[in-house]
């Protein structure tokens, strides 16, 4: 944190700032010293903020035209698509925006895993992030129910039924969630209410996430603590603002491509069939971003244990700062961890793939192995690795020479390993 006292130049500014230090906050945000070696994987925080705001703004407009009623929801979505001015644009941005949001959050999470950003002193930032991620999944799931298509209905039925696995009170909880004895109008209206609420909870948590970030400052690709401000840092504005802006524009090009040219590719065709409680689709699949966890759920033969496994797969992340025993943050200096990191990435991708396939035969076997490995990574490999791994020497600062090498070796090395 830049700790110099800030005083506004104008008299009015000073009068206002003494009463509500908004100007001090603005000054802090512009001057905020940021490590100058941050690579493009660090731009996804800004991109995620953009995604959240996009979802809230488009969602607000959609809510003005959408009707949360089992008999009218599907019709009202088609009304938006056909008769509302640019309704198709707003709905496609919102629907694809959810996918883009998850794409960005997965990159953001895996960046954190690679560079050890979750380690001391950034545990709270990380845990808030995991809560945001959980809320995102809840919001996305409920949002997918709102068009009241076949996948909406049956997805809602499958997921809410998971709660029935809880011993004794399970069935009661499911009835309570549904507001009846099956997924029906009361379920839809409460999902709509919650879907509207959750983004604002996320917004609040994002503020805490950034606040907590601004206490220790950003981690960086080298993963060492740096003096702030120093010649290792640059002020947030204009350096990071312009760089985040550039990355955001690149992201928006991809986003626009989906919205304008393949708006339905990430959804399921069955969701253009109106919900019918009497007809079950051949394969009930969640949206792509939930598939790895769906695979974990189905790989366990017992319903209750399956639910436990799925929840643990997410919650285990919250314990990560303590499961990873290595003092070195960045994978750049952890040759073994780097290998295991990429295996984990592959493992999650495999889980996602088998999650989309029917749970039988070879798929099921692969899902089981991948699930076992997922937990092995966090519960065994990471704790042991911290003690066993021989790490590479880390530099003293971003700019200072290490081992008598060239001044920029640390950054150069890091870039090399990323660009290969």
């Amino acid at each position: 944190m830049s700790d110099h006292e800030y005083t506004p130049k104008s008299k009015v500014g000073k009068w206002f700032n003494d009463r509500l230090p908004l100007l001090t906050l603005a000054n802090h945000l512009t001057d905020y010293p940021t490590p100058k070696n941050l690579n493009y994987w660090w731009t996804f925080g800004g991109i995620l903020t953009f995604c959240l705001i996009t979802q809230i703004v488009t969602g607000l407009v959609l809510a003005m035209h959408y009707i949360a009623h089992a008999d009218m929801a599907f019709d009202s979505v088609e009304h938006i698509m056909r008769d509302v001015n640019y309704g198709w644009l707003i709905r496609y941005i919102h629907a694809n925006g959810a996918s883009m949001f998850f794409l960005a959050v997965y990159i953001h999470i895996f960046r954190s895993l690679f560079y050890g950003s979750y380690k001391s002193p950034r545990e709270i930032i990380w845990i808030i992030g995991i809560i945001i991620y959980l809320l995102m999944m809840a919001a996305a799931f409920m949002g997918y129910v709102l068009p009241w298509g076949q996948m909406s209905f049956w997805g809602a039925t499958v997921i809410t039924n998971l709660f029935s696995a809880i011993p004794l009170v399970g069935e009661g909880i499911v009835t309570w969630l549904w507001g009846g004895y099956s997924v029906d109008n009361p379920t839809l209206t409460r999902f709509f209410t919650l879907h509207y609420l959750i983004p604002f909870l996320i917004l609040g948590l994002v503020v805490l996430h950034i606040w907590a970030l601004h206490v220790p400052g950003n981690n960086n690709p080298v993963g060492i603590d740096i003096k702030k401000p120093s010649k290792d840092t640059v002020p947030f504005h204009p350096y990071i603002v312009i760089k985040d802006g550039f990355a955001l524009l690149m992201f928006m090009i991809v986003f626009a491509f989906f919205v304008f040219y393949t708006p339905n590719i990430l959804g399921h065709a069955d969701n253009y069939i109106e919900a019918d409680p009497l007809v079950t689709p051949a394969h009930i699949v969640p949206e792509w971003y939930l598939l790895p966890f769906y695979a974990i759920l189905r790989s366990v033969p017992d319903k209750l244990l399956g639910v436990v496994a799925m929840l643990s797969a997410i919650l285990i992340l919250a314990a990560l700062p303590w499961l990873d025993t290595s003092k070195i943050r960045s994978a750049v200096f952890r040759p073994l961890y780097k290998q295991f990191y990429w295996i984990l990435v592959a493992d999650v991708l495999i889980l996602g793939y088998v999650g989309a396939m029917p749970a039988e035969g070879l798929y099921l076997l692969v899902a089981r192995i991948a699930t076992a490995y997922y937990f092995l990574h966090f519960l065994v490999i990471l704790p042991v690795l911290g003690f066993k791994e021989k790490t590479l020497p880390i530099p003293l600062s971003i700019t200072e020479p290490i081992m008598g090498g060239s001044p920029n070796l640390a950054t150069a090395k890091n870039k090399e390993s990323l660009n290969k």
Partner: protein, 258 residues
């Protein structure tokens, strides 16, 4: 990163036998769709012919409840002129009311009316079709995995069942249908529709025209979407380039590269 690609190829290796498991997929018939691609647009005359096939053939069983007659004259659609669209609407009897006496009555259709449905309700539709409900066609193209290629193929996919496959009464064999059994009989035969514009109405031609029409029905704003998309993406690319150079300029003040 290198190790990552090694892993990726490993995944592909692992997954390739998985794929062959589900290799019972049939190849759909292919044709050139004018509405695909960055500048894709509907073929107006195909849309108008497709509408003719829909009204003369499909509409006796399939509803299109999200479309209004006014859509027929709107930009990006079949673009009948307004008089034609009015005449089309007026050729349908629309139930309206209640009037001042509390009676329901019928009147000729107006532009603002939704497409008239062939049946009063789903039950009536089922009763008339051997228990199978002919799906509403408004978003049918988007509601089927194979999209336009699937519909196009299905219309031409009727065959005699292979030996060993027995069919119940009112069930037909179609090689593109999921499970190969379909309750809709083959509807199209060469020369079935006499096209207003004189086009030769082969089964292939009618399938293509009506599928194009269904695509427009499902995505009435497809053309403006493509046009706006192109503009938006060009705009974004130019802005990205400009921002890239300003970024380079700003970061040249510090020795770190971006």
């Amino acid at each position: 990163m290198k190790s990552f690609f090694r892993l990726l190829s490993l995944i592909v290796l692992i997954c390739s036998p998985l794929n062959s498991n589900a290799a019972e997929k049939v190849e759909y018939l292919k044709t050139d769709w004018s509405f695909k691609g960055l500048f894709g647009k509907f073929d107006r005359s195909a849309l108008q012919r497709g509408y003719q096939v829909y009204t003369e053939v499909c509409s006796s069983c399939h509803s299109m409840k999200y479309l209004s007659y006014r859509n027929l004259s709107e930009k990006g659609g079949p673009e009948f002129d307004e008089l034609q669209a009015k005449a089309i609407a007026a050729s349908f009897e629309v139930k309206d009311g209640p009037n001042a006496d509390g009676e329901m009555f019928t009147r000729p259709g107006k532009l603002s009316d939704k497409f008239v449905m062939p049946y009063d309700n789903v039950k009536a539709a089922q009763a008339a079709n051997g228990g199978a409900y002919p799906p509403d066609m408004s978003v049918l193209v988007k509601a089927r995995g194979g999209g336009v290629d699937y519909i196009y193929s299905l219309l031409q996919g009727y065959e005699d069942p292979p030996i060993g496959v027995s069919l119940d009464d009112g069930v037909y064999y179609n090689k593109y249908m999921y499970g190969n059994k379909i309750k809709m009989a083959n509807q199209l035969s060469d020369g079935l529709v006499e096209y207003v514009d004189g086009t030769n109405s082969t089964v292939e031609q009618m399938s293509k025209d009506v599928t194009t029409f269904l695509m427009w029905a499902a995505e009435p704003h497809l053309e403006s979407r493509h046009q706006m998309g192109f503009k938006a993406i060009v705009y974004l690319i130019i802005l990205t380039i400009l921002v890239y150079f300003s970024m380079k300029r700003i970061w040249s003040r510090v020795e770190t590269e971006v």
